[in-house]
Symmetry: C2
Subunit: 376 residues, 2 copies
Amino acid sequence: MGSPDDQASLFPNEPEHNGLQAPALWLVEPGPESDVVVSSRMRLARNIDGFRFKARFADGEGERLEVYLRGVLHEVDPSLTYHSLNDLSNNEREALFERHLVSHEHVVDEQSRGVAFSADGTTSVMVNEEDHLRLQVFAPGFDLQSLEQKINALDDSLAEHVTFAFDERFGFRTSCPTNTGTGLRVSVMLHLPALAFRQPEGKGGSGAERDIVRMHNAAQQLGLTVRGLFGESSRAEGDFFQISNQITLGKNQAKTVEDVSALTEMVVDWERRNREAFQQEHEVQLDDLVWRAWALLTSARKISSTEALGHLSALRLGLHQKIIDKVDVGTIQRLMVTLRPGHLQLREQCDLPADARDEVRARLIRDTLLGSTPPD
Amino acid sequence: MGSPDDQASLFPNEPEHNGLQAPALWLVEPGPESDVVVSSRMRLARNIDGFRFKARFADGEGERLEVYLRGVLHEVDPSLTYHSLNDLSNNEREALFERHLVSHEHVVDEQSRGVAFSADGTTSVMVNEEDHLRLQVFAPGFDLQSLEQKINALDDSLAEHVTFAFDERFGFRTSCPTNTGTGLRVSVMLHLPALAFRQPEGKGGSGAERDIVRMHNAAQQLGLTVRGLFGESSRAEGDFFQISNQITLGKNQAKTVEDVSALTEMVVDWERRNREAFQQEHEVQLDDLVWRAWALLTSARKISSTEALGHLSALRLGLHQKIIDKVDVGTIQRLMVTLRPGHLQLREQCDLPADARDEVRARLIRDTLLGSTPPD
C-alpha cells in the first residue's frame, strides 16, 4: 500500500516544472484565454454490453470487469498507466482526486475499481466508477475543439475492442439516467476573482455582483450549471468556478459544446470588464489585495488551504493585471494542487494532523514561491 | 495657523532617528526593562494662589493667567518652547496629543491655554488644562526614580516664582478633588502582547487570560487603574496598557511610586513568563504572527491605524523574543506615533479623508520599515 517514495511511484513520468514535479500538464501550461479560463474538460460515460450496471453487479462481476477493461485499456493505449484503487494508499487515492484524475465517489468506493491515466494527466479513464467507463480529457485554457477530437478518438478506439451498451432511441445507456444519451459532460474551469469580489458591507451592490447573478441565470436557461472547483456541492474556493452541462439526453454533442462555449465566452467577457473596471476605480485596493497576498504566502508559518487558495487567487489576478511579476501562473496552479492534504502527506510520507499540515503547507508555499522568484 | 512646513516649525529641534525626525526621545530610546515597559511618566497638578480655578475664571482671567504663566515658565526653564494652542492648527494640536504632550481635553478646549515642552519631549507643562499647571515628565523604560527627581526639581523651581494653592490639611488644591493632595499621577506604559493574547475560540482559557485578570484585581487592591494607551476609555490598541494611580489624597508621593512600582514589577514578570511559555508551547504560531505582521506592514497599500498598531505590537514582541531582527524597537515606537492622523496630515501638509490616510499611512510604514532594514 504505497512504497516509501509514494508520490514518485504514482506519478513517475510527469514533466518537470521549474525544477519540481508538475502535477498535471493541463494545469501548468498556458492555453487559450488562460487569463480567465484555467482548463477545459470533457467526459464520456460508457457501459459495456453484457455486464450489469455497477449497482447490480453479481458476485465477482466487478472484479472480472475491472480485469477485462484494464486489458482493453492497455491494448487501446499502452502509454496509459493503470492503478487499481484498492492497491493504493489513502493519500495516493486522495492525490489522484486532487489532480481531478478520479472523482470523489471513486475514491471512497470499495468496489474493484481503477484508473488509467497519461503521464501528463490530460487523459484518464476511470473503471467501475458510476459507469463501467468514464473517459476524461483535459486541456489548458479554453479549448473544447481539441478535446472533442481527442475524446472521440479514444471513444472510437475503445469501441473497436468492446461493445458499448446502446439504445437506438435514447443513445448510450448509463447507470444514472442523467447521463443517458450522449453520456457527455463538458466543463470549463474559470478563475473569476473580479466577478466573485464582494464589496465591503454597506458599499452597495457592485457591477460584478450583478454579473454573477446574470451568469447563474444564463446557465440555467441553457441547461448548464455553475459550481465550485471540485464540483457538486463544493464552494468556489479561490474564486474558481466550473461551468458544465446538465443535460445529456435530447441534446447532441455539438449543441452541448456550443452552449458551454457560448456561456464561457460571455462570462470571460464579463470577468475581463470587471477586472478592468475594478483596476481603474479601485487601483490601490487591488494593489493592496495582491501585495498582501504575496506577503502572506511568502511569510506565513502556518496556513490553511482555504486561506492559501484565496491568496493564490489574488496573486493569479495580480499577474494578469500586471501588478506583480514575481511568479508565473503555472507555479500558482501547481501550488493549488500540491498544497492539498493528499499531496502534502505523500510528500511528507506520513499522515499529519491538520495543524501540522498547515505548517508543512506554509513551508511548501514559501519555498515554491521564493524558489520561483527571478533574482532581482 | 500653521506654516507650510508645520511639522518642522512645531518640533524644530528634535533629534534625528535613523535619518528621520524622532517624535519623542522617551519613545525611541531604550530604557530599563524596555522589553515590557515602554515608558514611565509622572504628572503634577498645581494651581496658582490668587487665581480662580479654571471652571470659575472671571472674564479675561484665563488670558491673563496664560500670559503670566508663560512668562514664569520661560524664566524657570528658557529651553522649554511655549505654544498657545489657539495659535496652532487642528493637526498641530492633534500631533501634540499624539506625542502625549497635551491631553485630549486640552486639545478640544477653547479657553486660552498652551503648553511648554522640551525638544526631546521628556518635559512638558500644560497651562490652563483642568488645573492652572500640569507638569509632566517622561522617561524611556521603567525609571520612576529619575522622574521623581526631575519633576520635584521642576516643581521646586516653579515654587520659587509662584505661590501654589495649598491647604495645610489636604495638600495641593486642585480643580477636581480626585487630584487634591499630592496632585501626583504616576503611570507606566506597558507592552503586554502575551498577556493580551487571546486563544482562538473554543481552546479554553490560557494562563495569560488568568494573569490579566490577576493584574486588574491587584491594581484595584492598590488603588491603581489599568487602561489603554491614550488613557480613560481608550482600548488597549496594539496591546499597550497604562498602569497609574487613582488616589492622590492620603497617600504620599513615595507610597504612590512604591505601589505603581510593585504592580509594574509583578506584571513585567507575568508578561515575561507568558512570552516564554507561549514561545515554547506555540513556537510556530508565534513565528507565524510575527512574520505575517512584518509581511503585511511592508506590503499593504492601505492600512488602518488599528490594524497597523496590532502588527507593530507583534513585531515588537518578535524583536524581544529574537524571532526577527529586521527593525529596531525605536523605529517601531516612532511609527506608533507618526502613523496617527495628526502626524500623517502634518507630514502631507493637508487634511485627508480616512481612505487617503490609510494609503499615506501604508506608504509611511513601508518606507520607514524597509528604509530601516539593514542590507542583507
